[in-house]
């Protein structure tokens, strides 16, 4: 039984993956035309500017920062991993919410795609793959800067890289699900507000211990907090089992997002 079913499942998974890769490949082809490289570069500068202004600027006023394990690091070393997480979030959300919505509603791109064997879930997965490729470029560049500024070591930077992909995966999956509920461009204002609130309060600029208990609970259920904690743990070399919890949270978020996105796209486009 198993010997019959497994290869068939594997073949099916491979076909699904190939079709998702074809969707991602479409974006690679498009990126060459639309001056996309500028978008790529601009998405990278925002967190770098925050790091320079807040990490170094504010950091000059704060002597050192004591981590839960007792070690002391500079404020910039404390803030930088959070900027990295925020950059992964912003990149993934921009790529998925705005672009997915535009492609679905205005370019009506998926009408053509869904007339082929490609299924809605595979479109979602393919778009997410592309968002991750794009996000990874930002992350590598940002980690390079952190290493250059002595905010982390090369080894921990390498360890943190896959974690940035997981953060991008989580926000990308979520963004895609959100995109299917967006009615018009105005709705993006709400997304921006939530995104910015997460950026400010997810233990980004100060440890969450300093928040009131109810604030802490709110923060701890939102996804950026888990991204920040995961990357901070890795970048500062403060390992603990808790990191696996953050990974599990983020992967669960990505999976739920993808499944919802696939279903909703089916409902919206297979009328």
């Amino acid at each position: 039984m198993v010997t019959l079913v497994l290869p068939r499942l594997a073949a099916r998974a491979e076909r699904r993956f190939q079709r998702a890769a074809a969707v991602a490949g479409r974006n690679v082809a498009a990126a060459r035309h639309v001056g996309y490289w500028w978008v790529l570069v601009s998405g990278f500068f925002e967190p770098v500017l925050y790091l320079l202004s807040i990490g170094l600027g504010v950091g000059a006023l704060i002597k050192g920062f004591t981590l839960p394990d007792g070690r002391t690091v500079s404020y910039a070393a404390f803030v930088a991993p959070a900027m990295l997480a925020a950059s992964a979030m912003n990149g993934a959300l921009a790529e998925t919410t705005m672009n997915m919505f535009g492609k679905m509603k205005y370019m009506r791109l998926y009408d053509g795609v869904l007339a082929t064997p490609v299924q809605p879930f595979e479109v979602a997965l393919g778009e997410l793959m592309w968002a991750l490729v794009r996000g990874s470029i930002y992350s590598v560049a940002f980690l390079g800067i952190m290493v250059g500024m002595g905010l982390t070591s090369t080894g921990w930077a390498i360890a943190a890289f896959p974690a940035t992909v997981i953060v991008g995966f989580a926000f990308g999956g979520m963004g895609m699900a959100i995109a299917t509920y967006v009615r018009s461009w105005q709705d993006f204002d709400y997304i921006m507000v939530v995104q910015f609130a997460m950026f400010l309060f997810s233990g980004t600029f100060a440890p969450v211990d300093s928040y009131a208990w109810f604030m802490r609970i709110v923060v701890e259920v939102t996804p950026l907090y888990h991204g920040v904690q995961l990357l901070r743990g890795l970048a500062t070399g403060a390992l603990g089992w808790g990191l696996l919890g953050h990974v599990a949270y983020l992967i669960a978020l990505a999976s739920v997002g993808l499944v919802i996105a696939g279903r909703r796209m089916g409902v919206l486009l297979y009328k």
């Binding site: 190939q18 490949g25 479409r26 035309h33 370019m107 009328k271």
Partner: protein
Amino acid sequence: MSAAEPLITARDLVKRFGDFTAVAGIDVDVHAGEAFGFLGPNGAGKSSTMRMIGCVSAPSGGTLRILGMDPVRDGSAIRARLGVCPQQDSLDPELTVRENLTVYARYFGISRKVARQRADELIEFVQLTERAGDTVEPLSGGMKRRLTIARALVNDPAIVLLDEPTTGLDPQARHLVWERLFQLKQRGVTLVLTTHYMDEAEQLCDRLVVMDGGKIVAEGSPRQLIDRYSTREVVELRFSEATLDSYVGKLESIGERLELLPDRILLYADDGDAAVAAVGNRDLRPSSVLVRRSTLEDVFLHLTGRTLVD
């Protein structure tokens, strides 16, 4: 699937949008190698039917089988063997003409190498070689339509679905499309197309159904339909007076039937010249007289009391 089984079978097929019934129970069989047409006016339910056949819209009732499979369960497998030219071009505006074909081929799991080769052949086939490297947006409507048709052929489909392939094209562009579709037909590709142009239906379709209000009102080859529902010839009469109604009585019993249109009167007769002579005998003085053969337009007028293109 046996050789004789139709590629497409619909029985009592229904499509509803909320309370509104767009397709109200139709029966259709399309056989391999056939060019099959849906002819009907705006809102007849042609596109709704095509989208169900294209497995991008689930039937609300009845049964539908395509290539021996169930469109809801095996949609992806069926779509792998269909070529679709939707009513609205859904080309990728950010890609070039060639990329639109190569990228689309990848959705079917076709290798990059084969995709490039196919793209070049198809670009040649629809005469877009000069524009192969241009992005799609500035192309004319006719060029986009041809590219959409080329894209529908990229997977070497068993059935090609064409929803109004030539609507909005100028006569020259339309003739090029017809020529290409005719070539496909000669190669044995099964074509299913919708149109509200009777000349298109006559030229391309081996068999067609006339749809109106979500229902099929007649079925057969263009010739059969004309023989069954119209006379051999038609006399078109125009009069300089605005009140055409008054002539209806005066023309009584000339030919088999008469249709009153806003700008002319049609007399249906097997011998058009004899009918014209009869009109002359009654001393009626039409401002213009035209004798022509019956077309599907006349069939449609007879069946529904309306003209196809409004």
